[in-house]
């Protein structure tokens, strides 16, 4: 095979690189600069305030609440999403199981629906007066369990995590199933001959060999969870402070929507914190769990 000269490769890469620099790198660097300023976006004038925006974040109760909500979403949501996705992976990949295609499509389906549309549905589902959830609880004699689901920070976040899981499980299930496809059947067949049950095969063979896919999936989850925005925004439009995540809080501080809050410098500081969280958590996670490619 003829080797392509590096300068030709470079020339072909140039347009892409240029776009990357123009549309991502420059705005990202600018954002770092904005964190050091007080700026509302309507005037050219930016007042240099040094690290004041970051200092304010340390004492901002709403930010701390939003950070707590984001971490809860990341951890509890992660446990739920991957717990359910792994359970379905086990059930679907059992030898002789029929309908794998149907179930993987079925679980992926909620992922295809717009988050805004889902938000409208869930808001009414959880309504304390005429919502379906409380109606069902009343119908089965569990009326005392009926609470205003979105009326407190904890129950509200649990509801948000639960409905988000329904959307996300299908996506991570698809990733895990594609990982399973790569594992040769011979390992499991050999183990079965030696008397291993399906469950043992899953934990001792499938799961260890899925490690690479799991590391990528968890990394994706961390990124998605930290920047999670759409569903919560569509449900509350940033007007329920106790249910903010750092993504929705950043938007509220930058663009205000109904209330004129236009603190672009402060919002940029929040964005930088989000970036650092992703970098530290994904970097740390991959450092602990990454390994040499396992060949099979």
């Amino acid at each position: 095979m003829r080797k392509v000269k590096p300068w030709i490769v470079a020339v072909f890469l140039f347009p892409g690189m240029l776009m990357y620099v123009y549309f991502f790198l420059i705005p990202a660097v600018q954002s770092f600069y904005y964190t050091l300023t007080e700026w509302n976006g309507f005037k050219d004038e930016k007042i240099f305030v040094g690290l004041e925006n970051f200092q304010s974040l340390l004492t901002d109760k709403t930010f701390q609440q939003a950070l707590g909500n984001t971490m809860l979403f990341l951890i509890l949501g992660g446990v739920l999403v991957f717990g359910i996705a792994l359970l379905f992976t086990y059930l679907i990949t059992r030898p002789g199981f029929r309908g794998r295609k149907f179930f993987s499509n079925f679980f992926y389906f909620p992922n295809m629906i717009s988050q805004a549309a889902l938000a409208v549905m869930w808001v009414f589902f959880f309504n304390p007066e005429f919502g379906l959830l409380n109606m069902i609880l009343n119908a089965v004699g569990l009326g005392e369990w009926c609470i205003p689901w979105l009326g407190s920070r904890l129950s509200g976040m649990i509801c948000i995590i639960a409905v988000s899981c329904i959307s996300f499980v299908g996506f991570y299930l698809t990733l895990l199933l594609s990982g399973c496809d790569k594992i040769p059947d011979t390992y499991r067949e050999a183990a079965s001959i030696d008397g291993a049950t399906n469950l043992v095969c899953f934990f001792r063979i499938t799961l260890p060999l899925l490690r690479d896919v799991l590391v990528i999936s968890v990394s994706l989850w961390i990124i998605n969870a930290i920047k999670y925005f759409e569903l919560i925004w569509a449900m509350f439009k940033g007007k329920s402070t106790m249910l903010n995540t750092i993504g929705t809080y950043m938007f509220t501080m930058a663009f205000g929507v109904d209330v004129p809050v236009f603190k672009l410098g402060y919002a940029s500081a929040i964005a930088v914190v989000m970036f650092l969280m992703v970098a530290v958590l994904v970097g740390g996670f991959r450092r602990i769990f990454d390994r040499e490619d396992f060949q099979y």
Binding site: F14, C146, P148, L150, G151, S152, K237, K239
Partner: protein, 438 residues
């Protein structure tokens, strides 16, 4: 040959990208020409409406009327949706663009903040010129209190699209059925709530998760019980809320509703617009909200419902017994727009008597003196004219943006849902306000 072709392709791609990133000489020239021209043949309007919304259709009809009147002007109306302010922020980086907006239509709370940044043109002189279809000065066609409430330091920047006020909505048919009459005093309001409750109807519908509407309650009571100067001084951290007993009293009035169980069950978990739906379904008797409710709920209001409005009744010990809020979605002319003359001409048609029927058909109250009325809001004009003092919506406290969002909002939600007492609310409000301004 292959290598040459590859090189050629790469150069073409790179040139294409560079061309895309830059602006063409012709477009630059065009924008340069535009900045030099006055009395132009173009007009760019940005509105907070989404395409297809009823008010967007009305705005389009005004554009059509303007085009008939000024056929040489090419009008571009952009339906930006509610995040119009953030789009405007971005556009301000490109002031020379041919499509830079000449007019922004938005709620006047946000417009006021933008006007204070100097992005809008004062309209006082224009308002002294003749109106479009009435034989008087343009400024005199509007309801005086409305125009007064929208001024900033005595300067007028806005042309109102409608006229909103705040109060209790109720179903007159339901009131007749239960033998209730419109309450004039606080005690009568409490009696109405008790009767509704005794008849199995939630006295008041509220979305308890919505900070924005929850803080409105405290503000409305405080406006009546103390001076606006004190309210704004406390909001800016210049005095403590605890220093004026009227604030505690206002919080106690708000707390009365949760303490007496006047809100619907599970109010804390109700998310907008569930409360409005509950009200139009007849499962709640009252809704304390802005005068946009008839418009917003038009498609869900059953024909048998006779929606009406009454003001917050007089409170014992009020400083201003009938302080009312009055505001509007409004239009403003941008400083950097290139077609200001066209913009003024358009706004005269936009606020002319001839187009008011279109507004009131959508159940929006007209901002004009003698304008057509909306049956559901037939009390709105008397609410405004009987006011002992006026302010914009939310007592104009929205201007303290992140204090309003991060301090007053969450605490008001806790107060109205009964999670904290009135005393705790005032104490915490002072603590959080002090921390905020520190």
């Amino acid at each position: 040959m292959k290598k040459r072709f590859a090189m050629f392709l790469a150069v073409v791609m790179a040139a294409g990208v560079l061309a895309g990133c830059g602006s063409s000489p012709s477009s630059a020239a065009a924008s340069g020409d535009a900045t030099q021209t006055t009395g132009t043949d173009k007009l760019v309007i940005w509105t907070y409406m989404n395409e297809g919304e009823p008010m967007a259709t009305w705005e389009q009809s005004v554009v059509d009327l303007y085009t008939e009147e000024y056929p040489d002007v090419d009008v571009e109306i952009v339906f930006c949706g509610r995040e119009i302010a953030s789009q405007f922020q971005t556009k301000l980086n490109d002031k020379e663009a041919d499509d830079f907006p000449d007019i922004i239509i938005l709620n006047n709370g946000v417009l006021m903040a933008l006007a204070q940044e100097g992005v809008f043109v004062p309209l006082d002189d224009a308002l002294t010129t003749p109106a479009f279809d009435q034989d008087m000065a343009w400024g005199d066609t509007f309801i005086a209190n409305l125009m007064e409430s929208m001024k900033i330091d005595g300067v007028q920047y806005f042309i109102p699209e409608s006229m909103y006020t705040h109060g209790f909505f109720y179903d007159a048919a339901q009131f007749r059925e239960l033998g209730l009459s419109v309450p004039q005093t606080w005690d009568e309001l409490i009696a109405v709530c008790d009767t509704l409750k005794a008849n199995g109807i939630a006295p008041v519908a509220l979305d308890g998760s919505l900070d924005l509407y929850n803080e409105w309650w405290f503000i409305r009571f405080a406006e009546r019980l103390t001076t606006m100067e004190n309210l704004h001084a406390a909001a800016q951290g210049q005095m403590k809320f605890a220093d004026d007993p009227a604030f505690l009293q206002a919080a106690e009035y708000v707390a009365t509703f949760s303490e007496n169980g006047y809100f619907q069950d599970g109010v804390a978990g109700s998310v907008f617009p569930a409360a409005q739906a509950l009200f139009t379904q007849g499962e709640a008797g009252l809704l304390f909200c802005g005068a946009w409710i008839p418009t917003e709920m038009a498609s869900q209001t059953p024909p048998e419902m006779e929606m009406k409005m009454f003001p917050l009744p007089e409170l014992p010990g009020s400083v201003s017994a009938r302080h009312e809020e009055i505001w509007s979605n409004a239009a403003a002319v941008t400083v950097d727009g290139k077609n200001q003359e066209n913009a003024i001409n358009f706004l005269k048609i936009f606020s002319s008597m001839g187009v008011q029927e279109g507004i009131t058909e959508l159940k929006n109250p007209s901002p004009l003196v003698g304008g057509p009325t909306v049956p559901e809001l037939d009390q709105a004009e008397s609410i405004v004219s009987n006011a002992t003092s006026i302010s914009g919506n939310y007592g104009d406290l929205q201007q303290y943006g992140d204090w309003f969002v991060n301090v007053l909002g969450p605490l008001s939600t806790q107060l109205i849902n009964g999670n904290i007492s009135a005393q705790e609310f005032i104490t915490q409000l002072d603590t959080d306000t002090a921390a905020f301004y520190q």
